[in-house]
């Protein structure tokens, strides 16, 4: 109840941070996205779920230009996404991304992973970047691992480093592409805790995940995708208790069954 009214308050003042209008994307004969539209407000947390191959990863990869959309319009923090390098860099500088496979740089230490972007892209001095890195490592609760190499860490720790690496770019939006799907079960919570905390700090987030407990706790809006389309979009209370479509009900019954 509290959360709902907080959202309503936000909605009054907030403007769209991400605008996706009628985008389509094909890979050869495969229609990954069909005419998808989505608006995400400043500070809004959107959780996207759906069966595999439904286009959820493609959607968020389009938002920071990792995939090139064929048709439609994407606007991120008032920057229109075209595929010129200046537009890509403008968009990417306001968007952080966390990948399923972490994608840390294996030849760099944890701290170097975190400072590379700030030093090269944001032109921070090395000492300033180091300070920033340590601050974010504190925030994901692994400052003691700063001088280790990624492969010396557990999966959960690596994913937290990856989150910290994105945060060091001080983005306005964070995208999560199945951040816990590659983790052993006992490590999922440490990553979800960090994400929940981040959500609490007011970050605009889009998470593709099957962690429905996390979704219930954190999401302002649930999105269900199937066959490249957004089938359902609703606040979590309504989404989980009374899904509007057969396909969504079917999907939820499968993943919530156990």
């Amino acid at each position: 109840m509290v959360k709902t009214s907080f959202c309503a308050m936000l909605n009054l003042s907030a403007k769209a941070m991400i605008k996706v209008e009628n985008i389509s994307k094909t890979f050869g004969d495969f229609h990954a996205l069909k005419n998808v539209s989505l608006e995400v407000l400043t500070g809004e947390k959107v959780v996207v779920c759906g069966p595999s191959g439904s286009g959820k990863s493609t959607l968020i990869r389009c938002i920071n230009g990792l995939e090139r959309h064929d048709e439609g319009l994407i606007e991120v923090a008032d920057n229109r996404l075209t595929h010129t390098s200046s537009s890509l860099r403008a968009v990417r500088s306001s968007v952080g991304m966390v990948f399923q496979q972490f994608n840390l740089f294996p030849h760099l230490t944890v701290k170097q992973n975190l400072t590379l972007g700030p030093v090269r892209t944001r032109k921070l001095s090395q000492p300033d970047a180091d300070k920033l890195a340590m601050a974010y490592l504190e925030r994901v609760r692994i400052p003691e691992q700063a001088d280790k190499f990624p492969r010396q860490l557990s999966g959960g720790q690596q994913q937290r480093v990856a989150i910290a690496r994105s945060l060091c770019m001080e983005p306005q939006i964070m995208l999560f592409d199945e951040p816990t799907s590659a983790l052993d079960p006992e490590m999922i919570n440490e990553v979800l805790d960090v994400m929940s905390e981040l959500a609490g700090s007011g970050m605009t987030m889009i998470c593709v995940t099957h962690e429905m407990g996390f979704a219930k706790r954190v999401a302002d809006t649930m999105v269900f995708m199937d066959h490249g389309e957004i089938v359902e979009k609703a606040p979590p209370e309504q989404f989980f208790s009374n899904p509007g479509t057969e396909r969504c009900r079917d999907f939820l019954s499968k993943i919530l069954a156990h």
Partner: protein, 248 residues
């Protein structure tokens, strides 16, 4: 370890060959003044062999990288440039290229060129095609996720290559690069045909004077052998060091 084995090999060679009546080791016997002088003469070629090979390998790596990067571009014309360069340069025998650069290039351009630089240019060009293929393979072996992560922190293309992709690629292709260095050391002997005063040329000149090809060329073989074993050990050391870097 390597050195023990090497010393053993040398002793064995000397023992075996020394027994035969056809050998006259006096030409390179360090205990007599004439032999010592001959030996010094042979070894004096080492300087140019090393200088030539290392200069050529550095230049060929730079050209190789510059030729490899277009192969990974989305632009078809750039990819075609890479293919044409690699196929053309790879098709020319090194000896032919050396002769062509030394005798042909000055006539074509009107510039005079020293023996040393003719050798460097020919070796570097011919090797660059192979370096390009090695770099391409190394870069292509890097996971797509590394590029995506680099994009997601909005690194520029140059920064991404310099700090993320190439450092990882170079670690993977180091054994192949070591091979090319060994190959280059051996191919530098061909530059003797245009008069470069390196190991092989020195041996040839001494043979003409002393007329003991068997002993002198045996020393030459040993010179290359020792040199290359040292270089191989160096490359392996570097490999180990870079690997332990990654494991911490």
């Amino acid at each position: 370890m390597t050195f023990c084995r090497l010393a053993g090999l040398c002793c064995l060679t000397l023992l075996l060959t020394g027994c035969s009546g056809n050998w006259g080791w006096y030409v390179v016997d360090p205990t007599v003044p004439a032999g010592w002088n001959n030996l010094k003469f042979l070894l004096s070629g080492l300087y140019y062999t090393l200088l030539l090979s290392f200069t050529a390998i550095v230049i060929s790596i730079v050209i190789g990288l510059a030729v490899a990067l277009p192969a990974l571009s989305a632009n078809r014309a750039l990819r075609r440039f890479n293919r044409v360069y690699v196929e053309l340069v790879r098709a020319v025998p090194i000896l032919v290229l050396i002769l062509w650069v030394y005798y042909g290039l000055p006539q074509m351009t009107g510039l005079s060129i020293t023996v040393f630089w003719a050798g460097v240019i020919a070796l570097a060009l011919s090797d660059s095609a192979f370096e390009a293929e090695i770099f391409r393979a190394g870069i292509q072996s890097i996971d797509k996720g590394q590029y995506e992560a680099a994009h997601s922190i909005s690194l520029s293309y140059t920064d991404m290559m310099m700090y993320v992709i190439l450092p990882q690629a170079v670690r993977r292709i180091l054994p192949a690069l070591g091979n090319q260095l060994v190959y280059m050391l051996k191919m530098s002997s061909l530059v003797s045909v245009i008069g470069m005063q390196e190991l092989t040329r020195k041996a040839n000149e001494l043979v003409v004077v002393e007329y003991r090809p068997l002993e002198i060329y045996t020393v030459l073989v040993l010179e290359y052998l020792v040199l290359i074993l040292i270089v191989s050990a160096g490359v392996r050391w570097l490999e180990r060091k870079l690997q332990s870097d990654q494991r911490g």
